[in-house]
Symmetry: C2
Subunit: 206 residues, 2 copies
DNA sequence: AATATAGTGTTATATAAATAACAATTTGTT
DNA sequence: AACAAATTGTTATTTATATAACACTATATT
């Protein structure tokens, strides 16, 4: 299968969680318009996304939820799972770590990093915090592929370079600093200042 | 001026912050390609965005940074500022609150809410935490227009309804729960599970 | 058995966003 | 003064995404 559109990937992630909820409540089949309603989408959108991933329903009985979830799993998740590190254990890093751990998933936070001696050595939801100077060593040792970057802005660029150096393949960047880091590393930025300013603008103008 | 494209609004927020940094370092003018480079964009993209907001440079001298910032301010910010509440003071709510306060801006967090008696009454970065049952009263009293929603998933829907009832105009939704809340309220969703799964997918497939 | 209904899968169209193309303008250079 | 270089503002094109249109199929209904 060729690479999916970004937006479809995003929705697949959402479909999966919605579908798992349905499964948990005993539902076995679902129509496109039902799934659409759960996520505030249209039925066409759902069907089109499922077309992209080549899933077919039993005509007129809706989609087999279990089978669909399995398919999404096979598309989104790496077979052996992917190891993740959180870099920068301030409030946000801590929040994210506690948010992710416990959720059964093939994405595992296996290490967290900080620069502060008071934080290093502590455990966050059972995950050890290492000195950021050990980044390269630990990334290799624990086969970490993705970093969630939650350091203060003034060290963001340097840390991103360290991550590149360490051989990371993807970064979820929560700092407000744009990273100039080349094409080899997949970077997804999330800027909450922008988000809130956007809400403010559209509240004002809609 | 008519309503701007979403993506342009997002970039305006980023332009502003980058430009303020330039100002702080004493720079007075900037070329489109310089600004583009700061944010990993192209010069054309920058010029097109500035076209949308009707800004003109002094030909061949680049943009007057101060004037441009003022223009962006006039577009993005409400004249009197907009008051914000954070609802749900777990790790994430706390992180966001400390992240936003102190930043001089016309977006002010003026109240935070929680349901836990141990949290209610505490101050977060100097902002009082109220019982969520006082939502409506406080929203009116403090003229709160926007809510940042960081409650646990099981109470997300109910809380969103309470916010609607209280007269909120916009929500930045950090819960993973889709809100079915009608058109009157502008909702911006951010789902970090989706974000990280997206990074994982593209790391695997690019 | 013929017809209607509800739902799907896919192609076609519309909208949004990014990129490219280029004329216009100012400054510098000969 | 003529020309080249750099940069802008805008229109045109391309690409990405969402929406609409519709033929197809299984089931239900008469």
């Amino acid at each position: 299968m060729k690479v999916l559109p970004e937006k479809t990937v995003e929705r697949l992630s959402e479909y999966r969680r919605a579908l798992i909820k349905c499964l948990d409540s005993g539902q076995t089949h679902i129509y496109s318009h039902q799934l659409a309603k759960l996520l505030n989408l249209t039925a066409v959108q759902v069907r089109r996304d499922l077309m992209f991933i080549g899933y077919s329903s039993l005509q007129r009985k809706g989609y087999d939820i279990k089978a669909l979830v399995d398919l999404i799993v096979s598309i989104l998740d790496a077979k052996e799972g992917l190891n993740i590190a959180v870099v920068g254990m301030g409030n946000l890093g801590t929040a994210i770590t506690s948010y992710f751990t416990g959720k059964r998933s093939r994405l595992n936070i296996v290490a967290v990093f900080d620069i502060d001696q008071k934080t290093i050595g502590k455990a966050f939801n059972g995950i050890a915090c290492y000195n950021i100077s050990e980044l390269k060593k630990m990334v290799q040792e624990k086969n970490i592929k993705i970093a969630i970057l939650t350091v203060p802005p003034n060290v963001a660029t340097q840390t991103a370079n360290d991550l590149k150096e360490a051989g990371i393949a993807g970064i979820l960047n929560f700092t407000t600093v744009p990273l100039h880091i080349g094409e080899q590393i997949y970077v997804e930025d999330y800027d909450m200042v922008t988000s809130i300013e956007k809400v403010a603008y559209f509240v004002k103008n809609k």
